[in-house]
């Protein structure tokens, strides 16, 4: 019996160290730091100043709300784009190709976010490849300004999120019995009815997990809004970066970080509540 106990502690201790030192403690520090600020004498004291400046400066909370709204929009768009593809790969295309098509989906993730963002910059900029072809074909006379706006930012965010939406949806569709669709079709249901009443309900666990991961990734992303959204992208992580790296006001940055964490936790909790899913199930 004592041997088994030994094994237990050998597994437990590294896991505890990991979770306590790298997850719990840093977030306690984040929380505590966000309530510390310099008083008039230049000493560090407990204070709500960091949160006050968030609520009093409209740029901050405007960016905050904007980031949240855009993250939800991107999550929804990613779902719209990837759902037909997930269905195609799992249910429509011949099994010979489905593995290959699924493997291709991994490419953008494997090469990394920076390379994909750079690719989009080359495509969309004023002297870019898309403009080159449009000019050449005579569709436009002057190059279009396609980069550094909200649309290019959303394209980039959807692009980097697709994989994280499509994989969970595919895995829940794979578990679905085709004969349900056959039966519905035999009984005269239209395609739209079949999708709404059979496919979507079966895919819901996958849709929920995909949405949670995508939402979190988009909300916490820095590179894509910064490089594709340009100067006006106003993404909340950029404010955090500015506080930490540019103005070196770590306490203010900690407050922003904590607000972002609270927002992401709240929206994920809400999504789980509405769809009646559990967190453990949704992420695994």
């Amino acid at each position: 019996m004592s041997k088994i106990k030994w094994g237990f502690y050998i597994f437990l201790i590294p896991v505890l160290l990991w979770l306590f030192l790298l997850i719990v403690l840093p977030h306690i520090d984040l929380f505590v730091s966000s309530f510390r600020a310099e008083n008039d004498l230049g000493d560090m004291t407990w204070s709500l100043a960091n949160y006050k400046s968030f609520f009093s400066d409209s740029v901050y909370w405007y960016t905050f709300v904007r980031t949240a709204v855009y993250s939800i929009l991107v999550t929804f768009l990613t779902f719209l784009v990837t759902f037909p593809v997930a269905f195609y790969i799992t249910k429509v295309v011949s099994i010979k190709f489905s593995g290959f098509l699924a493997l291709l989906l991994l490419m953008p993730f494997w090469v990394g976010e920076l390379v994909s963002v750079y690719g989009w910059m080359i495509l969309l900029r004023e002297s870019g490849v898309v403009n080159f072809f449009l000019l050449k074909m005579g569709i436009i006379d002057t190059p279009l300004k396609m980069l550094y706006n909200d649309i290019s930012m959303v394209i980039g965010l959807v692009y980097m999120s697709m994989l994280f939406m499509i994989v969970p949806i595919m895995s829940s569709l794979e578990g679905m019995d085709d004969s349900l669709i056959e039966a519905a079709s035999d009984l005269g249901a239209s395609k739209f009815t079949i999708i709404r009443k059979i496919v979507i309900p079966h895919a819901t666990p996958g849709i929920v997990s995909g949405s949670i991961i995508v939402f979190m990734l988009v909300l916490g992303d820095y590179v894509t809004p910064d490089l594709l959204g340009g100067k006006n992208s106003l993404w909340f992580t950029e404010q955090i970066y500015n506080e930490f790296i540019a103005s070196f006001n770590w306490n203010e940055g900690a407050a922003f970080g904590f607000l972002l964490l609270a927002l992401s936790t709240f929206i994920i909790w809400l999504a789980l509540k509405i769809t009646n899913q559990s967190f453990e199930k949704a992420v695994s």
Partner: protein, 286 residues
């Protein structure tokens, strides 16, 4: 609408068209990046001015190829090192976590499991700043009380490794425990009955069974580390990783050297993907 059901021609063609457009969307930025790495032009754009390998090998006043650019080579090397250490550490601790959560029973297991999954929903930037904060606080505290200056608690190579490890381990826990749950426990019981101890069982029976999952987790951990930007941004010291280096170069203005680096990354990962495909086919045909 599915394999076994007939559909109208327009529906089929329309659907296929959507899928083709999707894959064009998926590959356009990657293919364009690769092609322009070989364009004999000072800017990464069309028109095509002829084929060149300058952006890989040139070393003159106007052009500096990837393989001659010591800054890029060193950040690639650091990313490899970081990826290696992160993958090894995450694999070890993540596998221990999988054993802990699948095979052991203890109080607060549910709470601990919840905590282990939490990094999946913590934005990378937040992990970065909170680890930066607490390592700085810890470093300051140690220096005030003992006078020791612990360099890895400042933004540095090892802090990046720790920061990436903190969330990549969660993926290893998930992948390995899903495999471990399907494991046939009678094999372990048989070995235990025959006098093996717990560690013999793990070493000789469970780990060989888990091998594909372990190799897969190692590769994915490495790739996650190699491409990580958001967490690394706040923890990086003078040893910049490739994504951080690329980011500052893209901001400063792009040259086809960046296309050449991207090409190498895309080419390298495609090779990995092809190997993976061949390996799986061989396994399935056996």
């Amino acid at each position: 609408m599915i394999r076994t059901l007939p559909s109208s021609k327009t529906y089929k063609v329309g659907y296929l068209l959507f899928i083709i457009l999707f894959y064009i969307f998926l590959f356009a930025p990657l293919i364009v990046t690769c092609v322009l790495a070989f364009n004999n032009s000072d800017f990464p754009t069309l028109p095509w001015k002829g084929f060149t390998l300058d952006w890989f090998f040139a070393n003159n006043d106007q052009r500096l190829g990837v393989f001659e650019d010591s800054g890029l080579l060193s950040s690639i090397y650091i990313s490899f090192q970081t990826g290696f250490y992160v993958a090894i550490l995450s694999l070890i601790v993540g596998t221990m976590g999988a054993f802990l959560f699948v095979q052991e029973k203890f109080r607060f297991k549910g709470a601990l499991y919840f905590l282990a999954l939490a990094p999946l929903v913590i934005p990378g930037v937040i992990l970065g700043i909170s680890i930066l904060l607490s390592s700085t606080i810890a470093g300051g505290y140690i220096e005030d009380h003992t006078g020791l200056d612990i360099s890895f608690l400042r933004p540095s190579f090892w802090l990046v490794v720790l920061g990436q490890f903190s969330f990549i381990t969660t993926f290893v826990v998930l992948v390995v425990s899903s495999k471990l749950k399907k494991f046939d426990h009678t094999l372990e019981e048989a070995a235990l009955n025959l006098g093996a101890n717990r560690f013999d069982v793990i070493r000789l029976i469970t780990l060989p069974y888990l091998k594909p999952a372990l190799i897969g987790s190692f590769i994915v951990s490495f790739l996650m580390s190699f491409g990580n930007f958001n967490t690394t941004l706040f923890l990086v010291g003078s040893d910049v990783t490739l994504p951080i280096d690329l980011y500052s170069r893209i901001r400063d203005g792009s040259t086809p050297v960046l296309n050449a680096v991207s090409f190498l990354l895309i080419f390298g990962t495609s090779l990995l993907a092809v190997f993976n495909l061949i390996y799986n086919n061989m396994k399935n045909n056996k």
